[in-house]
C-alpha cells in the first residue's frame, strides 16, 4: 500500500516542474496533439480536483476538466511563458468552474443530492477514496478545500496559493494546517472502526 502511494506521489511531483509543463504548452501551441495528451495525463487529477473543490459535484467537475483542456488547446498560442504554467492552467479551470456555478445558480436551484460529493462516478474509486473526498467536501470550508487541493494535488507552493486565491501567506499556512488536522481526525477515526 505504502509503495503504491509512493509511486503516485512521484507522478504528482513529476507534474510539478513548471519547465516541463511550459514545454508541453509550447508544443500544444504549435499544434501537437501528443503534447496535449501528455499534459492531460499529467494534470488531469489537479484540474479535476480544483474543479471539484469549487463545484462539489462530480459530473460537473468532470465536464469542466474536459472543457479546460479543450480551452488550453485554443488558448495555448497566446500563452506567454513566465514560469507559471500550472497557475495558468488552473486559472482556466477555475474560471470555467465559476461560470458554471453562476449559470447553474441562475437557471435553477440544484437539489442537495445533485450537489452531493457522491455524484462522483468512477470504476476505480474505492471506499477509502470516497471517505477522503467526502471529508474534504463536507467538512472543509470552500476556501480550506481550495487550499488543500492546490497544495496537495496541484503542487502549488503556499506562496503561489496565496497569489492564486488572493490571500495573505500566513492565512494560507494556518488554514492549510488546520484543514489537514481536520481531515486526519476523520480518516483516523475511520481507520479505528
Amino acid at each position: 500500500m505504502i509503495l503504491v502511494l509512493g509511486a503516485m506521489a512521484q507522478e504528482a511531483r513529476a507534474a510539478n516542474p513548471n519547465g516541463e509543463l511550459e514545454a508541453l504548452i509550447g508544443g500544444i501551441a504549435a499544434g501537437s496533439r501528443e503534447d496535449l495528451a501528455e499534459l492531460y495525463r499529467r494534470t488531469r487529477a489537479a484540474v479535476y480536483g480544483l474543479a471539484l473543490s469549487y463545484l462539489k459535484n462530480g459530473a460537473e467537475a468532470e465536464d469542466v476538466a474536459q472543457d479546460t483542456f479543450v480551452k488550453v488547446w485554443a488558448a495555448a498560442p497566446s500563452y506567454r511563458p513566465q514560469g507559471k504554467s500550472m497557475a495558468w492552467l488552473l486559472t482556466i479551470a477555475r474560471n470555467l468552474a465559476l461560470g458554471r456555478l453562476r449559470s447553474a445558480a441562475r437557471i435553477q436551484d440544484l437539489s442537495q443530492a445533485e450537489w452531493s460529493a457522491f455524484s462522483i462516478e468512477s470504476d476505480t474509486l474505492t471506499a477509502d477514496d470516497r471517505t477522503v473526498l467526502g471529508a474534504a467536501l463536507a467538512r472543509l470550508s470552500d476556501e480550506e478545500r481550495h487550499i488543500v487541493v492546490l497544495h496537495a494535488v496541484c503542487g502549488l507552493k503556499h506562496r503561489e496559493i496565496a497569489q492564486f486565491l488572493d490571500l495573505a501567506l500566513p492565512t494560507v499556512l494556518s488554514k492549510y494546517h488546520r484543514s489537514l488536522k481536520k481531515l486526519k481526525t476523520i480518516l483516523e477515526g475511520d481507520d479505528a472502526q
Partner: protein
C-alpha cells in the same frame, strides 16, 4: 497518520475520480496547421455520463450522515465573474469570467434571439462579443438614427472591476455607433443582485438592468407603472428620463435620445391647441413632455389661458388626443356662508350647463381646501368627468373637466349597475353587510377606457378597496389590515377588557372636539369629520368654523382624548384676486410677456396667514419664483436664479 499520508490519500482519490478520457478532448480540438497526429481508436461520442444510481445516492446519504451531516451547499457569494447586459429592445445578457471572456450569451426576449441568431460568442473576449452584437443590432435595424439609445448594465461583486467594465463598454458601444454615423445615447449603470427585481425581469423577459432602470423611473414618477414601461424600448425610457428632467443618481447618461420616431413637440402642441380652439399667442405653454398613458407614448401638453389650465395627452405616434383636462380658477371670495349639499350640487351642475338628469354618479363631499370649507362635487356625463369645488356661499372656486378617450364599446347605461349596486357587490364579495362596516363610500371612475366604481370601506382595522365594473362584477380588490391599536393607556374605565379596541365613533369624536373648543354644536358651522388610521390607532379629524375662527382637532378614536388642536382666524373676508391677475402681476414685475415663459407652476395658499399665490416659471435660462399677495396683488417675494 502524518500530513503526508493525508495529502497522499487525497491525491489518490482524485487520481481515481478524475476523468481519463483524453480522446474526447482531442476530438473537440480543431486541427492547427501542420502536425496532425492521426488518432486511432476514435470514439466520436463524448463520454456518456451514466445516470446517477440510486444505490450510490443512498450510500452517499449514509456517508454524509456518518461524516457529521455538514450539508454541502453551493455558496454563490464566492463567485467572482460578472454579468453584462445590453438592452435596446432586444435584451441580451453576457456572463463573463474574471478575464472578461464570454462564458455564455443569453437572449432574454424574442428580438434578442434574432440578434444572437447563429452567433457563437462563447470564449470570445468582451470587446469582440460587444462589437459583434452591436453589428447585429445595427444590421437588424434595432439601433438607428430614430432610436439611438442603448442601456449597458454591469453586475459584479467587485465594484472596481464593475466600474471599469462600465466605462470600457460605454467606450466600445460609442465607437461602434460613431463609426456607423449614429449619434448614440448611452445609459450605463452598475447593479447588484436583487431577487425581487430579478423575478420581475424574468416575468417580463427583460434584463435585470432594464428592470432596475424602470423601477427607478417608477419610483420617481408614481404616475408610471412597471407594467406599462416593461415593453417600451430603451429609447422610449431614455426619452421619458430626459423629458421629465429626471436624473437617476446611479445611471450615467451620454448623448441625447432621438425623438425622430415621434411627431415632435411642436406638432403635439398644435394638436392640443387646435382641440382647445386656441392659437399659440393666446396661451402660455407651461409644459410639453413625454409620458406613458394606457401603454402608449404620449406628449403631455399643458398650457394656460384666461384663468383656465389645459392639460392634454397627445399620442406621440398618431397625434390623436388621448385625454384632455381643463381646470378653471375663479377668484375666491365669500366666506362662512353655509349652503347645503343640494345647493352645492345645483351650483356645480349649472357651472357646466348641465341638468341633473344629464349627470350620473354625482358625489358631494364636504371638505376643507386651502383652509376654507368647500363642497367637492364630482360627476360624469358620457365619458367626461367633472369636478367642482363650491364654497359655503355657493361660489365656484375651481372647476375641472376631463375627457377620457373611450376604448371600444362604452358600457351603455342599460348595463350600468349604478353606485348603490356597486357598493352592494363589493360588500357581498367581502362577505360583509353594510352595518358591519364603516366609512362606506363609492364613486364612479374611469379606467382604461372603462367605467368603474371605486368602493372603499372599513371593517374594524381592515381597509377594503374595490373596483367594480359597470356590470357589477369585481374588477379588482385589495384589503389592508392595519396594525392593531397599541395598548390603550389606563384612565378611561375600560380596563381589564380583552377587547383590542373601542371606537368612540363620529359622535364621540365630535363631542370631544366641541368640548375642547368650549362650543356647542349649534354654535358651529361646516362641521367636518374624517375617520383615519394612524400608527395603529383609530383617529378622527374634526374641523369646524365659528365666529370667524377655524378649528381643527385630531381626536384619539379609542379614548376620545385630543391629540392635537389648532384654531386660526379665517382669512379676511374681502375677496382675493384671481390666479390670472396674480400671474399678470408677476409677469409685469418680471417685465415678461406670457409667450416668453415656460414651465409655469401656480399654487394658491389662501389659508396662509398672508394669503398668496406661489408662481414659478422659466424664461430663457432664468428661473423665477414669485409670491403674490392674494389680497392686493403686491409682490411678497421674488427670486431669480440661473
Amino acid at each position: 497518520m502524518t500530513d503526508r499520508n493525508v495529502e497522499q490519500a487525497l491525491r489518490t482519490a482524485l487520481e481515481h475520480a478524475a476523468p481519463n478520457d483524453v480522446e474526447s478532448v482531442l476530438l473537440r480540438c480543431d486541427d492547427r496547421k501542420g502536425n496532425v497526429i492521426p488518432m486511432t481508436n476514435q470514439n466520436p461520442e463524448k463520454k456518456n455520463r451514466k445516470p446517477l444510481r440510486l444505490a450510490a445516492l443512498a450510500a452517499a446519504a449514509c456517508l454524509v450522515l456518518a461524516i457529521g451531516g455538514g450539508s454541502v451547499y453551493y455558496n454563490q457569494s464566492q463567485t467572482a465573474a460578472s454579468v453584462v447586459s445590453l438592452d435596446v429592445n432586444p435584451s441580451i445578457e453576457l456572463v463573463l469570467n474574471s478575464r472578461e471572456r464570454v462564458l455564455r450569451a443569453t437572449a432574454l426576449n424574442e428580438d434578442a434571439a434574432a440578434v444572437l441568431d447563429g452567433m457563437d460568442l462563447k470564449g470570445s473576449t468582451l470587446d469582440v462579443a460587444v462589437n459583434a452584437l452591436m453589428g447585429s443590432l445595427l444590421k437588424n435595424g434595432y439601433v438607428d438614427e430614430l432610436a439611438n439609445s442603448i442601456l449597458i448594465t454591469v453586475e459584479d461583486d467587485d465594484a472596481t472591476r464593475a466600474a471599469q467594465l462600465e466605462s470600457q463598454l460605454t467606450e466600445t458601444v460609442n465607437a461602434v455607433m460613431t463609426s456607423s454615423s449614429i449619434n448614440g445615447a448611452i445609459l450605463s449603470q452598475v447593479v447588484n443582485q436583487n431577487q425581487d427585481l430579478q423575478a420581475k425581469a424574468d416575468e417580463y423577459g427583460i434584463s435585470l438592468g432594464k428592470a432596475q432602470l424602470i423601477q427607478q423611473l417608477v419610483d420617481q414618477n408614481p404616475t408610471l407603472t412597471f407594467e406599462s414601461l416593461a415593453g417600451r424600448t430603451v429609447n422610449d425610457l431614455n426619452l421619458l428620463l430626459s423629458s421629465q428632467a429626471t436624473t437617476l443618481s446611479t445611471v450615467s447618461s451620454t448623448g441625447r435620445a432621438s425623438d425622430g420616431g415621434y411627431i415632435g413637440t411642436e406638432v403635439a402642441k398644435n394638436a392640443a391647441l387646435a382641440h382647445a380652439g386656441l392659437s399659440a399667442d393666446q396661451v402660455t405653454v407651461s409644459k410639453v413632455d413625454f409620458d406613458v398613458e394606457d401603454g402608449r407614448m404620449v406628449y403631455e401638453v399643458e398650457f394656460w389661458a384666461n384663468n383656465v389650465e389645459y392639460e392634454y395627452d397627445v399620442d406621440a405616434t398618431t397625434g390623436e388626443i388621448v385625454k384632455n383636462h381643463t381646470e378653471t380658477y375663479t377668484a375666491a371670495a365669500g366666506q362662512n356662508g353655509s349652503i347645503d349639499q343640494a345647493a352645492a350640487k345645483a351650483a356645480a351642475l349649472s357651472a357646466f350647463g348641465l341638468s341633473e338628469d344629464q349627470a350620473e354618479g354625482i358625489v358631494v363631499i364636504p371638505s376643507y381646501d386651502d383652509g376654507r370649507f368647500v363642497y367637492k362635487v364630482k360627476f360624469w356625463a358620457g365619458s367626461t368627468e367633472y369636478f367642482c369645488a363650491v364654497d359655503g356661499s355657493g361660489q365656484i372656486l375651481k372647476s375641472e373637466k376631463e375627457e377620457h378617450a373611450s376604448s371600444g364599446s362604452v358600457a351603455t347605461s342599460g348595463t350600468d349597475v349604478g353606485l348603490e349596486a356597486a357598493k352592494a357587490a363589493a360588500l357581498k364579495h367581502a362577505g360583509l353587510s353594510a352595518d358591519q362596516v364603516t366609512g362606506l363610500t363609492a364613486k364612479l371612475d374611469w379606467d382604461d377606457g372603462q367605467r368603474v366604481y371605486e368602493v372603499d370601506f372599513w371593517q374594524g382595522s381592515t381597509e377594503y378597496e374595490y373596483e367594480i365594473n359597470a356590470d357589477g362584477t369585481v374588477r379588482q380588490y385589495e384589503s389592508e389590515a392595519h396594525a392593531a391599536p397599541t395598548a390603550i393607556s389606563a384612565g378611561s374605565g375600560s380596563s381589564g377588557s380583552s377587547a383590542t379596541s373601542t371606537d368612540i365613533g363620529e359622535t364621540g369624536a365630535k363631542a370631544a372636539a366641541l368640548s375642547a373648543a368650549g362650543l356647542t354644536e349649534d354654535q358651529v358651522q361646516n362641521l367636518f369629520i374624517e375617520r383615519d388610521w394612524d400608527d395603529g390607532r383609530i383617529q378622527y379629524e374634526v374641523k369646524f368654523q365659528a365666529n370667524g375662527t377655524r378649528y381643527e382637532y385630531e381626536i384619539d378614536g379609542s379614548t376620545g382624548s385630543v391629540l392635537k388642536g389648532e384654531n386660526k382666524a379665517t382669512a379676511a373676508s374681502g375677496s382675493f384676486i384671481s390666479a390670472d391677475e396674480a400671474l399678470a402681476k408677476a409677469l409685469s414685475h418680471a417685465g415678461l410677456d406670457q409667450s416668453a415663459i415656460r414651465e409655469l407652476e401656480m399654487d394658491s395658499e389662501l389659508d396662509d396667514d398672508v394669503p398668496h399665490y406661489s408662481i414659478d416659471f422659466k424664461s430663457g435660462n432664468l428661473e423665477y419664483e414669485y409670491e403674490i399677495s392674494a389680497t392686493d396683488g403686491s409682490v411678497l417675494k421674488f427670486e431669480q436664479d440661473n
